[in-house]
């Protein structure tokens, strides 16, 4: 599904990613953890195509295609989705209008006819239930005046609507109270499956009480310093990120 090879990237001349290697297979859930400033969100943004970052070396192959050659919207239409850490507020544009237009773009790519507003209403009913959102959210402007939890739920709702093959969830858990975290996690769990791969970028182990990853990677200073199974997250919770940093210094180059 996704192969990242020896990826280096910088922003305004500052190197943020220093040789990332990562392989995500179809249906897998990967957790990417790390302290603030380690580059984990940057990696997600680069996969989604954020224009502020310059890839200086390496490649990202998605379904056999060079992802770096594609614009963010082309990536989205081919099934790459990113849930934002800070979803953007767009006054004047209703949630339902944005989601319908987005979904119709994806459908167009798949050679399907666009849905009209009524058909879209039918389509979205189940998705709303998934994130326990009321239909009135659809008429509100995109994220405008939403609480932190509502914004994150709205991101997962968009994910459910767009039905991506690869979902990048950038700190979707941060700032959520337990109730919101439970709703968001349960939405993500319902959306994970053998046709969808998930890269869950998180600072905290807490969300992994609700979502069980197949792999956990720890990123420090622009590199993946350690990879393992879900038990790695518990070790991190116990010892903190310093533990990984210390280990790395002993062992030299990251795995």
């Amino acid at each position: 599904m996704l192969t990242i090879k020896n990826l280096y990237a910088e922003v305004e001349g500052v190197e943020i990613l220093k040789g990332i290697n990562l392989e995500i297979k179809k249906g897998e859930v990967h957790a990417l953890m790390g302290p603030n400033g380690s580059g984990k969100s940057t990696l997600a943004k680069i996969i989604a195509g954020h224009p502020s970052y310059e890839v200086t070396k390496g490649e990202i192959i998605y379904e056999g295609e060079d992802l770096l050659e594609l614009d963010p919207d082309e990536r989205a239409r081919k099934g790459v989705f990113m849930a934002f850490q800070y979803p953007v507020e767009i006054p004047g544009v209703s949630n339902s209008m944005l989601m319908r237009e987005s979904y119709n773009e994806v459908r167009k790519e798949q050679g399907l006819d666009p849905l009209d507003p009524l058909e879209f209403e039918d389509y979205i009913v189940d998705k709303l239930k998934m994130v326990e959102m009321d239909a009135k959210f659809l008429e509100r402007n995109v994220n405008a005046g939403f609480s932190g939890g509502e914004k994150k739920r709205n991101e997962i709702l968009q994910m459910a609507v767009l039905n991506p093959k690869l979902a990048l969830l950038d700190e979707t858990d941060s700032g959520l109270d337990i109730d919101a975290l439970r709703i968001v996690s349960s939405g993500i769990n319902k959306l994970s499956g053998e046709d969808r791969s998930i890269l869950l970028v998180t600072h905290y182990q807490r969300i992994l009480n609700y979502i069980t990853p197949d792999y956990v990677h720890v990123m420090v200073n622009g590199r993946i310093q350690k990879s393992g199974g879900k038990e790695l997250a518990y070790e991190l919770e116990e010892h903190g990120y310093e533990w990984v940093t210390a280990n790395t210094e002993v062992n030299g180059e990251a795995k």
Partner: protein, 445 residues
């Protein structure tokens, strides 16, 4: 500046072409004589004049115009009714090139005592409310255009809503300007008086039907007595080659509430001088604006929000979208006089530049003489936020689509506050048309 010897000044030429006014009433005559005197021999302001720094009238001063009433209207559309909002179906006045058209006006189903009429008729009939209030609020200051309008105006709108009467549906004042060979000038005058505890919504709609050159110089005066409420929407869609120079003055009494939404889309040069005076306690004024310029258009808004007494609030959200070689100017003064304690004033001017060659000038001016007030103001000039563009692109939308949506959204929060659905719809369509036609946005397609 005053040089009476030179009879070839722009305004003198125009005034002369209007000929002498028909006497209707002593007070009107007095007012018009004073106005004539005020502008006689007066040059148009130049960019050296601080209030006209970015609004150059040189082109205008070289134009010739005939009084609109003297030209034969040849290009009237088949169905004038198409321009009437459904909510205003039973109370609208139509002016064609500034001349009142009885045929296309309708004022049935109005509550008793309400007057919606041609101002010229009201003055001729000696309506005492009209005579009492005319010319009381639109100050001349240094501005030659308000006295010009005063000196030569004939037709216009007079609206009077009596005590405790509420008109739920909007009253529409439709100014249709036709596509003619001859260049014409019109000076519509509106006088709107809301008596105690009255309530009304008025829509002033200026529409250019072609892309001809004409000069639209309206003045609107509004007087709200105690505890009255008024929503005032002005939509300026004049021809892209027209000149639109207008003045709006609102005098707001105790416990009253005046909300103005002005949308400027047309004219090669549009200038709005807007003044709201909060004359007593517990009043509120809104002066929101949306400006969209493209091509070589210039749109200049000079506003004054004058807080004279305690416990009043004001709101001013002024948004501009600048495309092509367009220019937007905003100069927003807020006065908080010494007695105006506990004033809560909000002002924000946001400019969105779609092109590299557009210009935006903004100058918030707060003059505060009271010490217990809350005044917030902000002014920004910028492009579309790249993070917002990126966000929408990750939702599969193409760059041009993304920019259309964000531009639309930028404009819409001014429109959303307007209480009449069909006006909101009309304006949304205008915004959509503007974004769809934007070359700056299209280049991303």
């Amino acid at each position: 500046m005053t040089d009476i010897s030179n009879g070839n000044h722009f305004l003198d030429r125009l005034v002369k072409s209007f000929g002498p006014a028909k006497p209707v009433d002593d007070r009107v005559e007095e007012l018009q004589t004073a106005a004539l005197k005020r502008i006689a021999g007066k040059e148009l302001p130049t960019p050296r004049h601080e209030e006209w720094k970015y609004c150059n009238l040189k082109m205008l001063s070289r134009e010739d115009f005939l009084p609109a009433a003297e030209i034969v209207t040849s290009a009237l559309p088949g169905r004038v009714a198409d321009y009437i909002y459904p909510e205003a179906d039973h109370h609208h006045l139509t002016f064609i090139n500034g001349v009142f058209s009885e045929e296309h006006s309708k004022t049935d189903r109005l509550p008793e005592g309400v007057i919606v009429a041609n101002l010229a008729d009201a003055l001729r009939d000696g309506n005492s409310v009209a005579l009492d209030h005319l010319g009381k609020y639109a100050e001349w200051e240094d501005d030659p255009f308000a006295p010009f309008n005063t000196a030569v105006f004939r037709d216009g709108a007079f609206i009077y809503v009596p005590k405790s009467v509420r008109i739920e549906d909007p009253i529409q004042l439709l100014f249709l300007n036709t596509d003619e060979e001859q260049q014409y000038v019109m000076t519509p005058r509106c006088l709107i008086v809301g008596d105690r505890s009255s309530e009304m919504t008025v829509v002033e709609d200026h529409i250019g039907l072609g892309d001809n050159v004409y000069f639209n110089c309206p003045v609107s005066e509004i007087k709200l007595a105690e505890n009255s409420h008024m929503t005032h929407v002005k939509l300026q869609r004049d021809s892209n080659n027209a000149y639109h120079i207008s003045r709006l003055a609102a005098d707001i009494s105790r416990d009253s509430d005046y909300k103005s939404y002005a949308v400027q889309l047309g004219a090669q040069l549009s200038r709005s001088d807007v003044k709201a005076v909060l004359t007593d306690e517990n009043t509120h004024a809104t002066l929101d604006g949306l400006v969209m310029v493209n091509g070589e258009q210039l749109s200049d808004t000079h506003s004054i929000m004058d807080h004279t007494m305690p416990n009043c609030t004001s709101h001013q959200l002024h948004k501009c979208i600048i495309d092509g070689n367009g220019t937007s100017v905003f100069n927003g003064k807020i006065f908080v006089r010494q007695d105006a304690q506990k004033t809560d004033a909000f002002q924000e001017n946001r400019n969105l530049q779609l092109s590299n060659s557009g210009k935006a000038y903004t100058k918030p001016q707060l003059e505060i003489f009271a010490d217990d007030v809350s005044c917030s103001h902000g002014a920004t000039i910028g492009q579309l936020n790249p993070d917002e563009v990126f966000y929408l692109k990750t939702r599969g939308l193409q760059e041009s689509q993304t920019r259309e949506i964000l531009t639309y959204g930028f404009a819409l929060d001014v429109i959303e506050s307007i209480p009449v659905a069909s006006i909101r719809e009309r304006l949304s369509k205008e915004v959509e048309r503007f974004t769809k036609e934007s070359k700056s946005i299209k280049q991303y397609a």
